[in-house]
């Protein structure tokens, strides 16, 4: 049963991590360019706006779920499987989610880059 638990933890971690990244990205796009806002309004007001943004809070919650899924996964499976599998699947998942939910232009260049990085991350485990 342990491989099934391990892959369930990897699946949960990837899903939560992709959800968190998409929510954080959406929140930051709605807030605007932090560099410009910092100059116009000061650092404290910008930090306050980020911390009060509901999507930011949801993104952090999703990231926390991903972190605990990683901890559970590591207690069931090998780090040499879980770390590269979750990292490379997160890259691919983020690319799909960014296209679907953030409407980013994922062209051939970005697809190739994500594929190269995902394969490279897998090889780092050996």
């Amino acid at each position: 049963m342990k491989p099934a638990y391990t892959w369930a933890a990897i699946f949960l971690m990837v899903t939560a991590s992709v959800t968190g990244d998409v929510l954080l990205s959406k929140a930051m796009k709605q807030i605007g360019d932090v560099g410009d806002l910092w100059q116009d309004h000061g650092i404290f007001r910008v930090v306050g706006s980020v911390l009060r943004h509901p999507l930011f809070a949801l993104g952090i919650a999703a990231m926390a779920i991903a972190f605990f899924a990683l901890l559970f996964g590591l207690s069931w499976g090998d780090v040499s499987l879980i770390a590269p599998a979750s990292a490379s699947l997160t890259f691919v998942g983020n690319m799909i989610a960014a296209k679907l939910f953030l409407h980013e232009r994922v062209d051939r260049r970005r697809c190739i880059a994500v594929a190269l990085v995902a394969c490279g991350v897998v090889l780092l485990a050996f």
Partner: protein
């Protein structure tokens, strides 16, 4: 900025790793040892750098696409491997060097393209309305 994300993340992880190895195994029945871990110099340094990582990551997401930031900052995996080889004197296998080469190529690919998807004219106005109301209205006044 993107190099800063990669550097903060990879060096922060390395410091945490070194600190936690000094502290030893933390079991679920003795979670109080995690509090002891906070007093460790390396763990504290790692936490400070990871806070820096998160701040720079959020800043980058405010002006660049997620599908640009994530692959571009994966150069951090290469930094970790170089730290492992030359600072921690760990064995880096041929497969890992090939992995490093692939990641570097991927980063090179993404770095040559645009950082942000241009918005169409009508959605630019919608996007302005979507933005944080307080800051958006302040921006309108300025």
């Amino acid at each position: 900025m993107l190099f800063g994300i990669a550097l903060f993340g990879s060096v922060g992880d390395s410091l945490l790793s070194r600190g936690m190895k000094e502290i030893g195994t933390v079991s679920l029945t003795h979670l109080q040892s995690l509090i002891v871990a906070l007093a460790n110099f390396w763990v504290l340094g790692g936490i400070v750098l990871l806070i820096g990582f998160f701040a720079t990551y959020m800043t980058a997401l405010s002006w660049a696409d997620l599908t640009y930031v994530l692959p571009a900052t994966s150069i951090g995996y290469v930094i970790i491997a170089l730290i492992a080889k030359f600072v921690l004197h760990e064995q880096v296998t041929t497969a890992r060097w090939i992995g490093i080469l692939l990641i570097t190529s991927g980063v090179g690919f993404i770095a040559g393209g645009p950082a942000l998807t241009p918005l169409p004219e009508h959605s630019t106005r919608e996007s302005e309305q979507d933005r944080e109301p307080e800051l958006a209205s302040a921006r309108g006044r300025s």
